[in-house]
């Protein structure tokens, strides 16, 4: 729940643009962009994700660093389990 997971925006979805497909270590899931309305990310941008919502835009280097931090904390598997869990029954 308190994990911040870095993901890369692959595609903005829907007319309102409030959802996006992100990729986290090869796993693609939908996340909500509603909390970044003031500074909307574009495909190719990196974001930090909390509980299925993108909360902040970050650089690619910061994203790699964050993934490394999760690895050092022994939380990579937990993070990936969380990401795979987004969207429940979907793909």
């Amino acid at each position: 729940m308190c994990l911040a997971i870095p993901g890369k925006i692959v595609e903005i979805l829907g007319a309102s643009g409030s959802l996006a497909t992100v990729e986290v270590s090869g796993v693609r899931r939908k996340v909500d962009l509603g909390l970044l309305q003031d500074d909307m990310p574009q495909p190719g941008d990196w974001v930090l994700i909390h509980v299925g919502f993108a909360m902040s835009k970050i650089s690619e280097q910061d994203a790699l660093d964050q993934m490394n931090t999760l690895r050092m904390l022994g939380e990579t598997e937990q993070a990936m389990q969380e990401v795979r869990g987004y969207g429940l029954e979907e793909n």
Binding site: M1, A4, H50, I58, S59, V83
Partner: protein, 372 residues
């Protein structure tokens, strides 16, 4: 210092540790509180205690939402879910937290419909998929998660999804810091401020800590180097006799926070007059309730809540540990009756709880051949 070699920037870490030793006055004992449970977890996991000089003591703060939730709230939430029409949805972190009649997971084993969700929007999705059931989302967390709950409620109302409600246990970090500073048995020199909470609230809400309480606070990232650099920044302030809010985690935290997230919070939630925190007691204006405009989606306004209060087991000294008065291992139950496998208190449940973090660290140390 056995973990240092794993670090990508081991050289920088050693350099920063040297700088800490240089800045720390050997005749002084420093008590620095890391507010956020994520930092507590990182500090133990990275073995930073072993890198720091002995006169720098890190006190673990209240920033673990699972740990500060009173047991009565878990019982309250589970009482609603006794209705077979109800699906009880919560984050995985909640599943092993003991209530009086067991944890959500134990209730599931007894036949209650308990589901793990990773996002509040997935709880809403459960409601869409089960129109003949009611989905209750057991919401917990500080400002890292409360905006997501807010937006989910906005979406539920906009879509007119009426078989969904939130049992709101969201808390806010600033009043907890105030309560700790007001506590007579607490002497602190400075704070390491929470990183991801601050992406939402920004840095201004901490200004009173520096201005009125004359305590430095540095908002920190979670890498070992981030935390050590934050300690350097704190020591520099203390040496200069200053007290400022400083931002070490600039690459992620904007000084003004996230306006869209703050707006969502303001639209959906208002402050409760008071809320009980495990270990800290009742703290005024320290938690969020759902505004009347969203009453239909508020489990508490929509259903009768028993309002259970449970006194923590006397032998467990969670309160003292939570306030930093006792170290985890000084609790009578630590490692014997209370373990991560069989937690008595919530500090042993979450990996961000100081007891679980300390317990796991001790085990890692032992497994590594006592060479710390």
């Amino acid at each position: 210092m056995k973990f240092v070699d794993e670090f990508r920037d081991a050289k920088m870490i050693n350099k920063t540790a040297e700088e800490i030793r240089r800045l720390a006055d050997s005749g002084r004992h420093y008590r620095i509180m890391e507010v956020c449970g994520g930092h507590t977890h990182a500090i133990y996991r990275f073995g930073l205690k072993d890198i720091l000089p002995e006169n720098i003591e890190l006190i673990h703060g209240p920033g673990c939402p699972v740990c500060v939730l009173p047991m009565g709230r878990i019982d309250d939430g589970l009482s609603l879910a006794n209705d077979p029409m109800v699906i009880f949805a919560a984050f995985g972190d909640m599943m092993r937290v003991p209530g009086r009649q067991g944890s959500p997971l134990e209730h599931k084993a007894r036949g209650m419909d308990v589901r793990v969700v990773y996002s509040p929007s997935d709880a809403l999705k459960l409601a869409r998929a089960n129109p003949d059931r009611h989905v209750m989302f057991f919401a917990i967390g500080f400002e890292t998660t409360s905006p997501s709950t807010a937006l989910t409620l906005i979406r539920a109302k906009a879509e007119g999804i009426r078989n969904f409600s939130v049992f709101c246990n969201h808390v806010t970090i600033i009043p907890a810091i105030r309560a700790i500073l007001d506590s007579p048995d607490m002497r602190l020199d400075a704070f390491i401020g929470p990183g991801h909470v601050s992406t939402v609230i920004g840095c201004r809400p901490y200004e009173w800590i520096a201005r009125d309480q004359r305590k430095p606070i540095v908002i920190s990232g979670f890498e070992p180097l981030d935390i050590l650099q934050s300690i350097v920044m704190i020591l520099r302030q203390l040496r200069a006799g200053e007290a400022k809010v400083e931002l070490q985690y600039k690459r992620v935290v904007p000084w003004e926070g996230n306006r869209a997230a703050l707006q969502a919070l303001a639209d959906v939630f208002q402050l409760r007059p008071y809320f009980e925190w495990r270990g800290l007691g009742f703290i005024s204006q320290s938690a969020l309730r759902i505004r009347d405009a969203y009453a239909e989606w508020d489990s508490e306004q929509r259903f009768g809540i028993p309002g259970v209060r449970v006194i923590d087991p006397k032998a467990a000294q969670c309160g003292e540990v939570l306030k930093g008065v006792l170290k985890p291992a000084q609790c009578k139950l630590f490692g014997t009756e209370c373990t991560p496998e069989h937690p008595v208190g919530a500090l042993m449940v979450s990996s961000e709880g100081s007891c679980a973090a300390y317990h796991n660290y001790e085990h890692r140390k032992a497994a590594a051949g006592l060479s710390v």
